[in-house]
Symmetry: C2
Subunit: 257 residues, 2 copies
């Protein structure tokens, strides 16, 4: 049982460009910061770094809005080309609305990867380009696995990797980081069958480990600080084959879409 963990922002990561070797960049930054990975460490990395390295940036000048995009754009006072990118990333629009206090409305979408998030996790800021939209990596789990394998090989130890994105929530204000890609880190800890400290069965307790890790990373990553990677050390966990999709509630078990 882990009693203490530390979260450290990895300093010195340069602005990542399309085609960059993330494993080399992050590995070098870890070593330079005296944070050489140890067995059991988990590297928590913001999605935007992967998206930049994988060229997931779409110049809006190349986007031709569909009729559906034009309709949403008018209703929500949004750039129709951005809406078109959002629709291409989505399998479904769950809600769309523009409150009187909003300049631009919001689309809550089911992303093709299954996550429910505002604007299908399409990002319009924070990546240093005007008139472009950033979309999620094609396969976040695969991106995590490639990175994990390269770093594990370089340092000769096994680590875990979590890719995060910043989501809003129903009912609660503000944003938290959540996990959208995993390599070796379990999505949840299934405590069924365990008993609590007083001997009562813990029937339904299933901590969302990957989201706890993602949210915790927010404590040391600030968007204006250019620190998109966090090293989590000291956690008690067991590697398993996992996927960001493991955390998704099945549609038929969900009362809020």
């Amino acid at each position: 049982m882990s009693l203490s963990v530390s979260l450290t922002a990895v300093p010195g990561i340069p602005d990542v460009q399309n085609g960059d070797d993330l494993a080399r960049i992050l590995g070098d930054a870890l070593v330079a910061a005296d944070l050489t990975p140890q067995a059991g460490d988990i590297l928590v990395i913001a999605q935007k770094v992967f998206s930049k390295a994988e060229g997931c940036i779409i110049p809006l000048s190349t986007v031709q809005p569909s009729l559906e995009a034009l309709k949403y754009a008018e209703k929500l006072n949004k750039d129709a080309r951005k809406v078109e990118v959002v629709l291409r990333e989505s399998s479904r629009v769950v809600r769309s609305f523009k409150r009187p206090d909003q300049n631009e409305g919001t689309m809550i979408c089911e992303h093709r990867l299954g996550f429910i998030s505002a604007n299908a996790a399409v990002d319009e800021s924070n990546f240093g380009e005007e008139d472009a939209a950033m979309v999620l990596p094609k396969d976040p789990d695969a991106s995590c696995t490639v990175l994990r394998a390269a770093l594990s090989a370089r340092f000769g130890i096994e680590i875990g990797v979590v890719m995060t994105d910043t989501f809003g929530r129903p009912w609660r204000l503000g944003q938290v980081n959540v996990a959208i890609g995993l390599s070796k880190v379990p999505a949840t800890i299934r405590e069924q069958g365990n008993v609590d400290a007083w001997g009562r069965p813990l029937a339904v307790t299933e901590p969302a480990l990957c989201d706890e890790i993602a949210a915790a990373s927010g404590l040391v990553v600030r968007k204006d600080g250019k620190t998109p990677a966090v090293l989590l050390r000291g956690l008690d966990w067991q590697p398993e084959n996992s996927s960001g999709a493991d955390i998704l509630r099945k549609k038929q078990e969900d009362m809020f879409r």
Copy 2:
């Protein structure tokens, strides 16, 4: 800008009883574990400890179910007395359902304090009593403030206190800890007006600091480990007068109730 934080489970906290002096118990446990609080530390504590100390445990033998409770109990295959406690804690039932795979159904409720959670955060396990239900403290912010003031006075430094509970989420499986009571810890960090590292305005970024802290505490607290308190050290934060209600989305801005 904080670059590294640590989260440490406070060991040696005894099973708390009605009327116990939490500040003394936690202060003693911190000192005994060589975790004497330092200025800027945040103590993150599970709701059940406060509820036990404040006697928020209702023997079901004393509960007379209303007609409404009996109706929900039949529909959801639940103990009508537990349903009655849930209804008394709620200002509204947002959803109620029982899927074929569930033995007992679920009520998603708006708690009298404004939080939306399953069964109005009424707990049926993990507190060492059969045939009883545990409800939230009457005023979680006040409970946090009393504790904070006593510990700050004892140790001569300013700390923050966060009370957590374990909530499920729409769309995502598993549970995470969220903040339901605050003393001096801001609910969110408002980054409006800031610019990101590339000079673009961060128009709508508002990290949910209190929920990041709560979720992070889950990494070192496990229910079967009797470690209901976590010391967070190293965080960059500014004290302010805050409330657990600060994190609640206004009803009219919420598309999911």
